[in-house]
Amino acid sequence: MQNEHTTIEFPPETLALVNRIIKRYPEGRQKSALLPLLHIAQSENKGWLSTEMMDYVAILLDIQPIEVYEVASFYSMFNLEPVGNCLIEVCQTGPCWLCGAEEILAHFEKRLGIKSGETTADGRFSLKTVECLAACGNAPVIQVGTDYHENLNIQKVDELLDTWQAENKNSHSNPYL
């Protein structure tokens, strides 16, 4: 293997989870575990996938690093740049737009002082627009970590932001746990 020089190592309980997942696929098809592993790797790395982290995933699955990069760059849930501790994803597609998603986004931008796609200077919050989250009946909708927040209005956004600011919200926990 080409890249044995990584210093990254998952903690034992994460490695146990990884091994359980790899066993779900037939012999020689361990590459199928790539998406689940990228979700785990991202959560172990403050919410984004560094090259070093992707190389480590390649080692875990015994595949080439390029096979990891090309997949990580295809799917929108994988961040290839650092993000804030709390990543707020605001749905912008038709049904949410019809129900006021633009005002919700504008309010987040105003309160955080950043535009969509940016991170606050203190590194605590990032804002990102996303496409339909399959919750359109409760529009407008946002996602933070694995949590959905639905039927939003300005007041609810304020309450959520106040709570997250007070508790120093981190949205990057392992999605399996």
Binding site: R24, P26, R29, K31, S32, A33, L34, L35, P36, L38, H39, L61, I63, E67, E70, V71, F74, Y75, S76, M77, F78, Q92, T93, G94, P95, W97, L98, C99, V130, E131, C132, L133, A134, A135, C136, G137, N138, A139, Q143, T146, D147, Y148, P175, Y176
Partner: protein, 435 residues
């Protein structure tokens, strides 16, 4: 009371637990099937029921199962499509979150019928919390002997796993889903060969939608005839309609196919009418991909007959005056909604989600978004309306997978039925709906 197959017990507290589900009659179909029915007779039953795929295309489920390569000595796979990414569609999440065991029960039936020993539920990565609920239910089913080795002493064994996606609408397309499940980018494969011959790991594979699969226990318990007695001639059974937008009661409704659209929109049992007493303007009846229809054509066909929620009635009139049932994502717009702006959000969506393999889709979706952005901002020209229609025409039918068509249809139908609204943006040099 109308028959409910998918939402019958949905409000029962604790339905997601094995004990509650079992107490309400859950897993009876698996007992019946493994004790007394051959795999082939299950396929025959599903064929006879008239069940059509609920993922969007409406292909008869039993017929799809019959394509599976039975002679192949390779393993067979059954996959549940839980990608649920078509804008306006939010029904599968409801089943997965509140009634995971009904999905698992259906997975066992389908896997048994198809001779699969391993099955996967591919669920969009955003819905990880639902994945965790389903995995918990799967663990329970193993403990109770409904999954794993030698299920109920029948000699049949099945392993069932969940797989998260990574955020990509295209992975709802079944061959892209298979690629993704193999740990690759979600690039759709060229068909044929179809997955029934060459699917996951090049083995015979069937992919079905969550709702399709959740219907199976009822069909096996009550029989194909009972199922086929529901609905219309070409649309059997019930359907989940996820309704959103400018209505009083957005939500997920199980209707018997053939319900009049007017009743669905205005009755208190369903959408409860348009919000604030506003006027109905337009409906996208089957998820963002299907043609939009103005109020008069969604309530009545061009022939003046009441429009029904069924495959054939929604298709009545073809694309000139009709639409499609699609995934059942029912998006309602009142008179305050800007058709052009709504369309722009869809165009951006398809541009963002194009996998980039075919030039008409990769380039065309971006081009359409750009033109729509200009028109919506009041900076477009009349010529660009025709250009837009022309681009859509050239994408339609020229690509590897139907995402191209899905991107084109909303554009061509919006221009067909709401051309004057595009023109207003150009004449007023701004969106007429902004104050």
């Amino acid at each position: 009371m109308a028959t409910k197959i998918l939402l019958e017990n949905i409000e029962a507290p604790g339905l997601a637990t094995f004990d509650c589900y079992r107490k309400l009659g859950g897993y009876a179909s698996v007992e019946k099937a493994l004790k007394s029915l051959s795999p082939d007779s299950i396929t025959q039953e599903v064929l006879k029921s008239g069940l059509r795929g609920r993922g969007g295309a409406g292909f008869p489920t039993g017929m799809k199962w019959n394509f599976i390569d039975k002679k192949s000595d390779k393993p067979h796979y059954f996959i549940c499509n839980f990608d649920e990414s078509e804008p306006g569609t939010f029904k599968d999440r409801h089943i997965g979150q509140l009634n995971p065991h009904q999905l698992i029960e259906g997975m066992i039936l389908g896997s048994y019928a198809l001779g699969a020993r391993s099955a996967y539920i591919y669920i969009r990565g955003e819905l990880f919390y639902v994945l965790n609920i389903i995995e918990k239910a799967i663990d329970e089913a193993y403990q109770k002997g409904f999954l794993g080795e030698n299920i109920m002493g029948s000699g049949y064994s099945l392993d069932l796993y969940c797989q998260p996606g990574g955020g990509a609408y295209i992975c709802g397309e079944e061959t892209a889903l298979i690629e993704s499940l193999e740990g690759k980018r979600g690039n759709p494969r060229i068909k044929p060969p179809f997955p029934a011959l060459v699917g996951l790991y090049n083995c015979p594979t069937v992919v079905n939608n969550v709702e399709t699969i959740a219907n199976l226990p009822w069909i096996i318990n009550h029989g194909a005839d009972a199922y086929a007695a529901l609905g219309t001639l070409k649309s059997k059974g019930t359907k989940l309609i996820s309704a959103c937008g400018h209505i009083n009661k957005p939500g997920i409704y199980e209707i018997e196919l053939g319900l009049p659209v007017e009743e669905f929109i205005y009755s208190d049992e369903y959408c409860g009418g348009i919000r604030n007493g506003n006027q109905l303007k337009a409906v996208v009846a089957g998820g963002s991909s299907v043609p939009i229809l103005p109020a008069e054509l969604i309530l009545k066909t061009a022939k003046g007959e009441p429009r029904l929620l069924s495959y054939e009635s929604l298709e009545e009139g073809g694309f000139q005056t009709g639409t499609m049932l699609g995934s059942g994502g029912f998006i309602v717009m009142d008179h305050t909604a800007c058709i052009v702006k709504n369309l722009l959000t869809f165009a951006r969506f398809y541009h963002h989600e194009s996998c980039g393999q075919c030039s008409p889709c990769r380039e065309g979706t971006g081009w359409m978004e750009k033109i729509l952005r200009r028109i919506e901002a009041g900076k477009g020209s009349m010529k660009e309306i025709d250009l837009l229609a022309d681009i859509a025409k050239h994408i339609d039918g020229t690509t590897i997978c139907p995402l191209g068509d899905a991107a084109a249809w909303p554009v061509s139908s919006a221009i067909r039925h709401f051309r004057s609204e595009f023109e207003e943006h150009i004449i007023q040099q701004k969106c007429p709906f902004t104050k």
